[in-house]
């Protein structure tokens, strides 16, 4: 399993790690049900605090992408749909873009509804 980090990424490291896991899932590098490395190993390999890795894993668990079990480590949820995850990522990118353009939720929802309505 290879997780790539982007150069000069201004986001906090735990966000970058969680994002790298997501990217690995959408690219197929990581599959649903796969186990993630133990926090301590990932922390040592990255040269960061165990805390940072645990924060990343918690963020992924909060989003329903991984599940952590005491004694069994952290694993990708077995019934995860990488295609849907990819779509979720894209939605987040669209929302982020809309925000930066000053477009509100109502306007954006209207745009989406119009795009989903078949031409009459």
């Amino acid at each position: 399993m290879l997780l790539r980090l982007a150069p000069e990424d201004p986001r906090p490291l735990y966000v970058q790690i969680a994002s790298a896991v997501r990217a690995a899932l959408t690219s197929g590098e990581l599959a649903p049900g796969d186990r993630l490395p133990p926090g301590r190993d990932l922390a040592d390999a990255l040269g960061v605090n165990l805390d940072t890795v645990q924060r990343a894993y918690r963020a992924l668990a909060d989003d329903g992408i991984v599940v952590s079990r005491v004694g069994r480590g952290t694993a990708v949820v077995a019934d995860l749909d990488p295609a849907q995850l990819s779509l979720t990522e894209q939605v987040e990118a669209v929302v982020s873009r809309a925000r930066s353009l000053g477009i509100g939720a109502d306007a954006l929802t209207e745009m989406i509804r119009r795009a989903m309505t078949p031409d009459v």
């Binding site: 790539r4 982007a6 000069e8 490395p37 133990p38 190993d41 040592d44 390999a45 040269g47 960061v48």
Partner: protein, 323 residues
């Protein structure tokens, strides 16, 4: 030659052997002939050695074992893994073997007949304590382990690489070591047999040796900007080599027979984690020591490590240029 590591791994064990030899020679005239050298489960003597053979055979063995261990370990360091344990070993073993020898004959002084000799609890415990103290002293004498110098140049141009712009983390596993699994099963069966055939504690001690066997059946490997972390299935043994001290990563082949077996092995300046005969990842340190790990498709982790080294050397080069 007369550096602190030499003192810890050669001079100290030699001193322990000498002290033991002097004590044995002093005690010899007061011992019965033959001398009791083995005790049965009930605590009574059941094995003897002619008194005239105590010095050539028992002391001779002590000298030979200690000398062999000291020679091997003196030539093997500093090791990538377990350097402190290695440094402690010659002195600890010298103290333990010497302690067993001395405790065995000490109780027989001024005894008319060796058949009256009895096993006492101090016979195993005093040597163990002496071994811990001697090992601790050796570690205290030896120089504190310093990480090897940082590489100043990137790995050779023809070394394997992957496309990386910044950081990356790679994780994989070694192939499973089937012989270790088989050995573990054999040990469990043997423990059961011994439990009922001799005594429960004999079976119990035998069973305890299954732990390192199981722990060496498979290892996980993680590579990143912090270096490389290799961990056995049970969590130990655990090896962490920081990126600073690594010169390059290569592809090699590992033969279990060349390293004397499977699991965590040491041969000169090479440390190997061997699980089967086949391709391996080799990590070369700047001080010449290397770590080899059995891996399928080692070109991927090797590529990740070399690319991370490229990034690191470039970054430190930039930092130096700015300074």
């Amino acid at each position: 030659m007369l550096d602190r590591r030499f003192v810890a791994t050669v001079a100290l064990p030699a001193a322990i052997v000498t002290v033991t030899a002097v004590a044995v020679v002093v005690m010899l005239p007061s011992l019965p002939d033959p001398v009791a050298t083995h005790f049965g489960l009930q605590g009574h003597a059941d094995g003897y050695l002619s008194r005239s053979l105590v010095v050539p055979v028992l002391l001779g063995l002590h000298v030979a074992i200690t000398a062999l261990l000291a020679a091997v370990i003196h030539r093997s360091g500093p090791a990538v893994v377990g350097e402190r344990l290695l440094v402690a070993l010659p002195a600890a073993i010298a103290a333990m073997v010497g302690g067993v020898l001395l405790m065995t004959i000490e109780g027989q002084r001024d005894l008319a007949d060796a058949t009256q000799a009895l096993f006492s609890a101090s016979m195993p415990t005093v040597p163990l304590v002496a071994a811990l103290l001697a090992g601790g002293l050796a570690v205290a004498i030896a120089p504190a382990s310093r990480p090897p110098a940082s590489a100043t140049a990137p790995p050779p141009a023809d070394a394997p690489r992957v496309s990386l712009q910044a950081g990356a983390v790679w994780q994989g596993v070694t192939p499973t070591a089937l012989p270790m699994q088989i050995a573990a099963v054999v040990v469990v069966i043997a423990s059961g047999v011994l439990w009922f055939l001799t005594a429960p504690f004999v079976g119990g001690i035998t069973l305890a040796s299954v732990v390192p066997l199981v722990g060496s059946t498979r290892f996980t490997v993680a590579i990143g900007p912090g270096g490389i972390v290799v961990r056995g299935v049970l969590g130990w043994p655990r090896v962490h080599v920081p990126l600073q001290g690594i010169e390059q990563a290569r592809i090699d082949r590992l033969r279990p027979l060349a390293f004397g077996g499977w699991g965590l092995r040491l041969r000169g300046r090479q440390t190997a984690i061997v699980t089967r005969h086949g391709p391996a990842l080799e990590i070369v340190r700047t001080d010449g020591a290397s770590l080899l790990i059995s891996m399928d498709s080692p070109e991927v982790p090797a590529g990740v490590l070399n690319s991370l080294l490229d990034v690191r050397v470039a970054a430190t080069g930039d930092a130096a240029a700015e300074a």
